[in-house]
Subunit: 305 residues, 2 copies
């Protein structure tokens, strides 16, 4: 699983930062969090394709987080995409897409499924992961998202399988995928008899625009990566609060409270040509922290246990 | 007067080309023709400000020509712009802006005046210029625009003014601006008595997306600069016709028919990593031709006569 930062600016882009968008590449699928203006061009620059299985999650309906969606869908259509795109986000998302499509008369070559989220909880579930949402604390309604992989089957020990008389081949494969199997002699073998305990999956939290809020520590608990709003530095905490944003110290405290492993600060205000000040402020509270840059890519390896 | 190419791609952006937008800098005013996604960031990169007097002309309501408008207006608001923006374009432009503003809840700090064009002719008039529109020949309704400067007063000859007894100062200035003045002795002096004949202004034509069409030669007659759709090369003339676009030869023939002075090809399809082939095809018909590139800037000096 890789995390590619396609846009890392605050509300206004800069020479080096495009508007907010984070792309998670997971197996044969893309999960995009926010879709700021210019995201299609950032994808082209990063050589990200337009045909892969894709879900898009919009944190809130401010233009800087959603205006890239229309151009992205249009370009996918121009490229003849066939596969559906799922788009999740706040109330108003469907109306926004519909009215724009109506006026701009663009014909999509694929279905767009829009899911407007009404309450905290699981917003989509796949075989190997779920995406959960929790209300953010911004100036308009919005959502913080967590991509949570389901536990994987434990480590497989071939010698144990052999001892129990499981013939190598299909039955091994099913045990490795967490299924129980029936031997020719009628004995049922469970994955736990031939392997270790289930291993946890990975968890990535993306905040969109938000102040620190109660409940975040639980929502983001033990995340491998928290990608957090850090629009203004600590000296502008009052402005951050007024505008519904966070400072580096607040983001770091949130990550620490959640016992997260890694923190990336993003949604960086255009006033910081050098984001070093943000990094310094966060590091005092949480050591494994980075400031996002456009096209920065992180690998999140599978945990061993 | 300078012409800055902010986006020069066809329907899909590329690594080096952003979506269509051409900015004419005329005295203290900006006139923008089309407003493709990403234009606000291109403006930032080109150090174009967000507070100047501005008119925007949309050629047609396809996403690649208009999707940058919302983000541009939003950023102007975030920067506290006070002065109005005038936006001209086809029917549907007002509805597009209204519905997006309603869903995205962005508060503008300045008035946006929307003018939907219904027929060929002058769409706006200022003291020193007009902008005219003519129907384009694309797959949806759209407009080709011409910025036409009004004639300037003729060259001023100080010795003639002195001979006629016009005192240096305010009266000279008024004569230089094309006004007649009354001398202290009651004699009225006209600008033609102290200067040459009125000098022509400059004319720039921007086609947006269009096939060649009848009437273009008249509309663009004697233009100093024609900025023309040249999406596909000559070997794809059938596709160009089907999709409502032009080839380099067609653009060059249009410019030649109009007796234009200079031609710039734009709206370049992503398939041309090297646009040399387009230039070659056009040059056979029209010699003073360029292929637009992002951030290319042309100076259009005032003609002497």
């Amino acid at each position: 699983m890789r995390v590619l930062f396609l846009g890392t600016s605050g509300s206004v882009p800069t020479n080096t930062r495009s508007l907010p968008a984070v792309l998670i590449k997971r197996q044969n699928e893309y999960l995009m969090f926010d879709c700021g203006e210019g995201v299609q061009r950032q994808m082209i620059k990063a050589k990200v394709g337009f045909h892969r299985k894709m879900k898009i999650f919009i944190s809130h309906m401010h233009g800087d987080h959603v205006l890239g969606l229309l151009g992205l869908l249009q370009t996918m259509a121009l490229m003849g995409r066939q596969q559906k795109v799922e788009v999740y986000g706040p109330e108003g998302l469907g109306r926004f897409l519909e009215s724009a499509r109506e006026v701009l008369q663009f014909c999509l070559t694929f279905p767009v499924e829009v899911y407007e989220i009404c309450d905290d909880g699981v917003v989509c579930e796949e075989k190997e992961y779920i995406v959960e949402a929790a209300k953010s604390s911004h100036v308009i309604a919005g959502w913080v998202y967590a991509l949570v992989e389901k536990p994987r089957p434990g480590k497989f020990y071939p010698e144990k399988a052999r001892t129990l008389g499981v013939p190598e081949g299909e039955l091994w494969s099913r045990l490795q995928h967490g299924e129980s199997v029936k031997l020719p002699n009628g004995r049922v073998v469970s994955p736990l008899e031939v392997g270790g305990p289930p291993r946890r999956g990975r968890k990535i939290v993306y905040t969109g625009d938000t102040r620190p809020f109660e409940g975040f520590a639980g929502f983001a608990a033990n995340a491998d990566l928290v990608i957090h709003d850090s629009t203004f530095d600590d000296t502008l905490a009052d402005k951050a609060n007024l505008d519904g944003h966070s400072t580096p110290s607040q983001a770091a405290q949130q990550a620490a409270n959640a016992k997260a492993k890694k923190l990336v600060l993003t949604h960086i205000s255009a006033r910081y040509a050098d984001a070093g000040v943000l990094l310094e402020q966060a590091r005092k509270i949480f050591s494994d922290v980075l400031v996002a840059e456009d096209f920065m890519e992180l690998e999140l390896p599978l945990p061993d246990s």
